[in-house]
Every structure is written in structure tokens, then in C-alpha cells.
Symmetry: D2
Subunit: 307 residues, 4 copies
């Protein structure tokens, strides 16, 4: 149950079997920092090439393929004031042939991120000068080393996690990843101060951050896709294209969870999901899109309580 303070000096733009930067035990807590998607740190200095550079990987002692790594997100705190976003909805999110960004407009704008006030304000756009967006910091890209000893770009996502860009990955949430490599090799980065559903402009408000997380190793407990436990619900994430396939993965994983851990097998989980499932759009921008299937704790409690 140790606390580690880790200052990153190397970063990777793939999730894969890289040399671990630190070995930690199940139950340990890590205090560390992440650079923004473009590789800029808390002082707004460029310290590594762009592309969702990751802090880590952290080796979790005893983690083996077939286990699950739970990561409790305890704090995600922007550690500088400048954030930035792109300014045009991605072409793949709009009707084919819809006009692209006019040449006289900027491709990105900066935002003033005020952690104390809990808001972000767009800069350099007079019409929006008075707008304050409530902060809701989240992790855009994190995960473990993928199956088959692959090293997969942090631009995309798959079963091992990666660039899922779901705005539900906030402090107070537990993320779960299937372990494919010994030690799991967990890494994280790409914090957004805020992000709309779908990350449809291709960014949230990109920023560097102080992050605190605690790992927990679930031995001999295999899962198929990333899962989450939020204060409100349990959630499963499907990462693929098109969105239909994301829904297929997420829903199938939810059925597996409800059968394995809640005893809701045969048609019980189906009946419940039919009238109570929720779906959220993680991202529709990255090479793999993300859809999230949710079920509230209220429902789970109502279903599984003793009469």
C-alpha cells in the first residue's frame, strides 16, 4: 500500500511492451504528471514529440495475462492555465461533402483553464468571450500493453484501452483493463480539462495534469474489453469502427459482466438491459471509435436485492 511519487522523463506514443519506468504493487498509489497531447508539460514547454505521449509504463508486480488491472482514478488536475482545442467538427462526423474549415479561421484556439474557479474560457473568439465552461477533467488515453506483444499507437484504441476519449473517465472512477503482458505495463496521458461527447472536433481542452491513481490487481479474472465503475453506474467500452461494432463489443461485454459477477444469466440480463441500458458516445474521431454501455447502480441494487 505504498505511495509513489513519479516524475516522468521518457514518454511513448504507443502502448506496448516498453521497459517499465517503475514497479508497483497491487494497492499502491502513484502521484505523477502527464504532458498534454502535443507533448507540452506543466510549464508549457515541449518535452517530447506530439501524439498523446504516455507517462509510464508502470509494471504491476504479479500481473499476468488473464488477470484484470483496476485503476482507481483519485485525482486528475490540470497543472497549468493554457488549454487548447481544435475549431472545426471533423469531416467524418458531418455529412459527406460538408464544407471544411475556411482558410481564414484558426485551426485551434487557446482556453484559459482556471482550476480554482472550476471553469475554462475560450481565448481570441470575441463572440464567445463571456462563455465559461465548467471543468470536468478526464483521461483521454490510457491502458495496458496489448495482446500478441503489439505496440499500438496512442492515436487509437482496442481491447487494451488506449485513446478512448470517453469523458466519463474522471476522478472517482475505476477503470479496468485486461492484462496481456506480464506486469500489465499500464501507462496514461492525454488529459482533457473538458470534452463534449464524441470528441467531435478531435480534441477536448488539451492540457497537462497532475494525476493520482491507485492500482488493484484482480487475479484470474479475465475481461474482454475495458470496463469502468463510476459513482452512478457500471460501464463497458467497445473500441472499433463503425459505431455499430463498438456497441456490439460494449453490450456483449456488459452481458458477460452481469452473468459472471451478478448472476444474471440466461435471459435475465437481456430483459434488464432492454429497458434499462444506457449508451454514451466516447469518441467518433480516432481511428477506432468508442461507445459505452452503462447500467446504473440503482438498477443493479433493485435487481439483486433480496426481496
Amino acid at each position: 500500500m505504498a505511495d509513489h511519487r513519479f516524475v516522468p522523463t521518457v514518454f511513448h506514443t504507443t502502448l506496448g511492451p516498453h521497459d517499465p519506468v517503475l514497479t508497483i504493487e497491487s494497492g499502491d498509489r502513484v502521484f505523477t504528471t502527464t504532458v498534454d497531447a502535443g507533448g507540452f508539460d506543466a510549464n508549457d514547454n515541449p518535452v517530447t514529440p506530439a501524439g498523446n505521449p504516455q507517462t509510464g509504463p508502470f509494471r504491476v508486480a504479479g500481473a499476468e495475462p488473464g488477470d484484470t488491472l483496476a485503476v482507481h482514478l483519485e485525482q486528475i488536475l490540470p497543472n497549468r492555465t493554457r488549454g487548447y482545442t481544435k475549431t472545426w467538427v471533423a469531416a467524418n462526423v458531418l455529412d459527406p461533402g460538408h464544407p471544411t474549415l475556411p482558410a481564414d479561421l484558426p485551426q485551434s484556439i487557446d482556453w484559459n483553464v482556471d482550476v480554482e474557479a472550476g471553469t475554462a474560457a475560450p481565448l481570441g473568439v470575441p463572440e464567445l468571450a463571456h462563455w465559461r465552461v465548467p471543468l470536468a477533467p478526464m483521461i483521454g488515453c490510457f491502458g495496458v500493453a496489448p495482446e500478441r506483444h503489439q505496440a499500438i499507437s496512442t492515436a487509437t484504441s482496442e481491447r487494451h484501452g488506449g485513446n478512448m476519449d470517453w469523458n466519463g473517465f474522471q476522478a472517482g472512477v475505476t477503470a479496468m483493463f485486461p492484462v496481456f503482458e506480464p506486469g500489465a505495463l499500464f501507462a496514461l496521458g492525454d488529459v482533457h480539462a473538458v470534452q463534449g461527447d464524441g470528441e467531435i472536433v478531435g480534441t477536448g481542452i488539451e492540457i497537462s495534469a497532475d494525476v493520482v491513481f491507485r492500482v488493484e490487481l484482480l487475479k484470474d479474472h479475465a475481461i474482454g474489453w475495458p470496463r469502468a465503475r463510476t459513482p452512478d453506474c457500471i460501464a463497458t467500452l467497445g473500441n472499433a469502427r463503425p459505431l455499430d461494432q463498438c456497441v456490439q463489443h460494449a453490450t456483449t461485454e456488459m452481458l458477460r459482466w452481469l452473468a459472471d459477477d451478478y448472476g444474471l444469466d440466461r435471459h435475465l440480463a437481456h430483459i434488464i438491459l432492454g429497458q434499462a441500458a444506457g449508451y454514451q458516445l466516447g469518441n467518433m474521431f480516432d481511428p477506432a471509435y468508442t461507445m459505452v454501455c452503462t447500467l446504473t447502480h440503482d438498477i443493479l441494487r433493485a435487481i439483486t436485492r433480496t426481496p
Copy 2:
């Protein structure tokens, strides 16, 4: 501003240029009833063939192609106690090859819908006997006659509305449809007492209902896809396959709305949607799926207020 009480005797399973059952004026209110998706009425008697039979069409005097028909949903009230749902998530919502419904399990179950208590309870499933689902009645299928004098099955949806199965179409919401035929020819049916996101088992809790709506004609105001105004947000609906295309239609329509009615043109609407758009899954069961793009009134007020 007349009130009409209309008792349906004929029903259609297409939306199209059918003979109107009643002519109403912009501002008029209609009190009527809908049979369930299977054609059963308030007395649980089969009165018309299955397939989302529609009450109507209602001719709105003066409606012409290029106008928009707004329909204020004032009341959607189940008018009997028996509802029913299917019991297995549709094959297209699960990973390819996932097992289908075991032969020893029922394809559908009944629910006891208790309007006074505001809940529905599944029947004949002992493990779920104590579960009470809060009612949230909604309209599954409604819309106007489509473009090009088509008559399109109420199993599917398109620009004219139809079987969108979005659980946001509840009382207190205004739905808007583009007018393609003189008189608009609005019809409605397929009420669900409750429905999970995505209608993934292929039904909500299907039931007959008493419905009250008021129409409002917006002259010379063309829209591309169905829109809605809920107590919380404005919403645009895209109906197509795959879900990606639904998102494309819904998002493009939202940009159009923000430019036309809120003066948010050039990159303003893009910047806002990037950090504030919401998405909801209407259905992923029908021939055309439905995704909904939303923006809260809070955001709209914050953006458009005078500083």
C-alpha cells in the same frame, strides 16, 4: 385553437399520402389514443394488424412542403395495465455469432403497468419479481408523409420521422418534422411505457395510450431532419445506418439549427459543439438506426446572453 377529440378506427403501417382522418389548424390540440405496436387497443383487443399501426394522418391546414410542423407532446399516458417486451438483445447489437435466444425461453414477457404507482413490473420471471421500473412513457413512431409521395413502413425512419424509438420523445417535449406533402399528414403510434437506450431487445414496454398533442405550423421554415426541444436541451435526430451516418445527419442538422436560429455561424457552433455536444442512442434495432445530437439550454443561454 380548438380542442379535438378523435377516436381512431383506421390505422396505417406506413407513413404516406393517406386520406386524412381529420383536418386541424395550427394551434389546435388533439386528444386521441394509440394502439400498441401489435395493434391491440386499451381493452387489449386486436383491432388492426401489427407493425406500429398509426393513428391519423391528421391534415394540418395550410401546411406546405418547405414548412416545419411542430408537435407539442402534452400527455402520453398508458391506458391499460398489460405491456410486453421481447426478452433477448437483437443479434445486430451483439458480437457476430453470439448465441441467440435459447429455445426453452419465452420470446416475450408481459409487464404490469401501474400508472398510479408510476411503475412497471415484469411478470412470469421469478428472479425479477421484485423489480419496479419507473414509467417514462414515450412515442416510438410518429412523423409526417415522406418526400416524393412515398409510403414508408412504420418499421423504419428517415427525414420524415417514423420509427425512431428515442426515449426522449416524452410528454413536455416538442417534436419538429419537415413538411413534404400538403397538409403534412401527421400520424402517431407505438407508445412505450419505458424503453432503455437503443431499444436493443427490439421493444420498449409496448402499450396502448391516451395521447394529447398540439400542433404548430412554422411557415417557410425548412429543416433537414427531425428536431426536438425538451425541457433540458435542443436535439436533432439522424436516422440511417450505420450509427456513424446517424451522427453525421444529426450533427450537420445541429450546425444548421445553430446557424439559422441562434446566429452561431462560421466556427462558433463548431467550437461550442466540440466541448458541449451530447449524443444519445435512439435505437439500434430498426432498419434505420437513430442517433440524437443535443445541446443544453444552459449552454445556449450562456453562449447567446449579452455580456
Copy 3:
């Protein structure tokens, strides 16, 4: 076995339960004409609104839901010299954000269609002045009245046929459609003098034509999707979005055909298709795309011959 000469005077831009223009018997042959997709006839006069206007519908005596209508295409002959095509690949066929047609270029060009020489030559494009494209006339849009008494736009396609735009529908080919309405109500139009795979610019070389076809009614023989028999192969067509779903419909229909008519059930048809199936892209432009699954007569003969 009568021959009919039919001169069309009314045209429809939906396939649906329209009044038949002529009643014919199984075995009868019809000599008729089609206007081009824009409604222009053999004299290049506009005679009906644009949108793949159809000649027909022809009522086939005795046709009932559950039957199959076979249409032997005996002749498809352009009957004027001017054809036209669009000039830019559709946005949905190119990477999102790919530039659209520059404003200084024409949206469509004319072609000189020379039936005697058997070629088409583009007009008004000096760089292509010497190009001669061999004619391969085909029917872009034809089919029967759809299920559920729908009237469906001739811009799209479904189980009943419609705007499939497969360049395999040439003279010498038999097309088969499931019958949904009494009399089948077969109609045809939208001839292309030539068309590349996918109809990716949104047109073939659009032209009016003289067409000769012979109908054959297959009683009590239900099929799920349009089929074809060409000199080389048997073919099944899936009409949907995305292309994946087209392949699913076409392949499933091919398995059904091989089981029902060729006795290739259990895993036999699967083993054969795995190593011998062919696929062709009908269109990737219309609201519903089309993919075609084929199996050559050579293979069928090799498989089903007595050893």
C-alpha cells in the same frame, strides 16, 4: 406467350402499388422504352419529372406474395445518341474531407453514344477526346412493388429491387424478384449505356432505351433478395448500408439458394463459397448500397455433376 408492344405515357418515381399499365401472362414478352434518369425520352424531350422514372408497372397475372418473378432481359438498346454523366466522385466514396468539385468545372458532361460502333465518347473534355468506351448497356433501376404496401423511392433499393445500379444487369441476364403485391407490379427504367463498378460519380452514362424483356412466374417459390442468372454465374444482391450489410444479405441469400435449389446444405455451400465466391460492387452512391455475391456455373457444374 404473347408479345406486347407498350408505349409508356405515365411514369412513377416510386416502386409501389400503382395502377398497372398492362396485364401480362407468365411467358409473355414486352417491347417497350424507358426514359433516362432525368425524364428525357428518345427524342431528348423532357416528358416526366426527373428521378429514375419507371415504365410500368406491369401486372403479371396470377402473381401472389410468396412467388418469384423472373425477368429475362433480352435487349437493352440506347435509342438516342446523347448520354450524360456526372464528373466528380461522390463525397461518400472518398476520404472524409476530400475536396469537392471545383466551382469552375462542369457538374455533368455529355457523351456521344454510338450504338453501331458500340462505343461512347465524352464530349467537351479535350484531354479525353480520343477515348472510346465500349458500350455495355444495363438497367440501373427496376423491381416490383415492395412489401407492406409501401411506395419506395426509385432513388434507393431494398428486397424488392429498385435502384441497385449493378452493371451486371445486361441483356442476356435473368433478374429475379420476390413478389409482395398481387400481380407483382414490375416496372423498369434508368438505363446506363455504360457504368463503372460502384456508380461512384452517381451516374452511369444515362440514356433512354428500347428494352425487350420476358417475364416468367415461379409459383410458391419465395426468395429473400433479388437474384440473377448471367451467362457466367448465379448472383444474389444485397441492398443496404453500409456495404458490410449488403454482403451479409447477399451471402445469406446465396446460401439459401444453394441449399434450396442445389441441395448444398449443412457445411457444403460454406466450404464452396469460402474458396469460390465472387463479390461485385453494385453501387456505393444511392441511399442503399448494393453488393453482389456470385458463383460461376463452372463451379456449380463441377460440384453437382455425377462423378
Copy 4:
């Protein structure tokens, strides 16, 4: 222009920045062997784990990011008699919910591959005992190290090539890949003695092979996606999901090729492709599907000849 004889001893199931097994020069020819998809060699001995193990990577001296590597496939010759295929069309190729392989049937069957006779014969399926399939050996999986120092599973494909499973990659064809890593790091494997379009059962006739190829380095010549030159046509490959996106990548790449190398810019290439493009289905089984856009040399000659 050296000839190399290379006997593989290590194999990789990712394409990535692995240690090269041999350094060759542009113009060099390599005589080598590949194991089958399951890791079995010419003697039918298991020599490496399954999953399209690759022979290589070969380092091409002087290759740098931004170059193109052309690989002339001179010979692809099965080097044993046993091949094998799966026996059921994959669930994602059939309508959702279609029955899966009955439990009493084998998941795979063997084939007798007779190189001298030029045929393959299925074994253990009496009904098909007399069937002889003409051999058409092809490479299922080959390519270079991907961008961003990724190591990507040989189950899938992307811009760098990989498991494209296009039955057009036969002897006599030149494949072209964009270079992302110094030395290109070309590897190859997964030969099929025969394969139907789409690899819809998840295999061709899988077999080990003797392969001869010659590399040619095209300096400062960047391409976006794999390309091919066959005796009949030029071809571009898009690897993604759904098939629509494959077509988008392949068609966009073809436009780029026609503009860059054939001077067909502005709308010329669009007009030509509209009436002359061909499309082929590579695979609809792997994590990324493959569609191929083709244009015949006949057309290219007709278009670009001096009048």
C-alpha cells in the same frame, strides 16, 4: 542485383521494428520459404506459434520514410501437399443471428494440393470428393514496419500492408508499400493455394510455400496505401472497417496515383473512374477489411495515348 537464398528460423506475428534477418539492395532477388498461417512448414512440422508468422523482416538498404518499396512477386509455390480451410462462413459475413457451425461438423478440413496438376481437392467430404479447384497461389499477409514504431498484429492490416488477404497478390504482380522505418523491414507469410473473394470462411487453402521476390526501392516517392500492378490493371488497397471506409481509402489513393503518375488531375480521373473503375473484395474477415480499386491497363493506354 544479387540473388539471396534465405532459410527462415525466426518468425514474427507482428509487422514492426524487429531486427532484420538479412539486408538486401534495391534490385535484389530473394528465394525463401513461408510457413502456413498456423506455423507449419514444408514438412508439415510446427516450427513457430500460429497467427500468420512472417518470414523476415528484410532490411532494404537505403530505404527511408517517404520512399516506396516495390516487391515483385516472381513465384509463389506451395511446397507440400496438405492445405486446410475452415468450413463455415464467418458470422460477420452473414445476416445477424444466422446459425453458426453445427457442433457435429468439423471446424476445418484438409485439402490435397497437387502443384503438378494445378488443383486442390477437399478431403473427407464425400459429397465434394470429385471437386478440383484450380490453384491460384497468393500471399495473404505481407508488408513493412508501420508508422510510429508500432508493432501491429499480422491478423490485421493498415497502410503498411499486413493481412489484406486479397486473392490478387499472385506471382507476376508487383506490390507497393509506403516506407515508414529505415530499411522498410519487409516481411511476408500466410500463403493461400486458392482463396475465394473476401476470405469469408476466414481462410484460403492455407499452406507453406517457396516464394521468390525482387525488391525495388522508389526513392522520395510517398504513397498513402498499398498499391499493386498486375498484368491486367493497377490497383489500390484500402484496409479498414467498415467496407465503405476501405473503398474510400482505395479510391482516394487511386485518384492520387492517377494525378501524380499519369497527369490525370482536376476532374479527368473522376470522369474516367466513374465509368471504368473496378472494385474487388479482398477480405471481410480480418479485424481490418480490404477493398481494392482497379483500373485496367487498357483504359490507361486508351486515355494517355497520343491521339
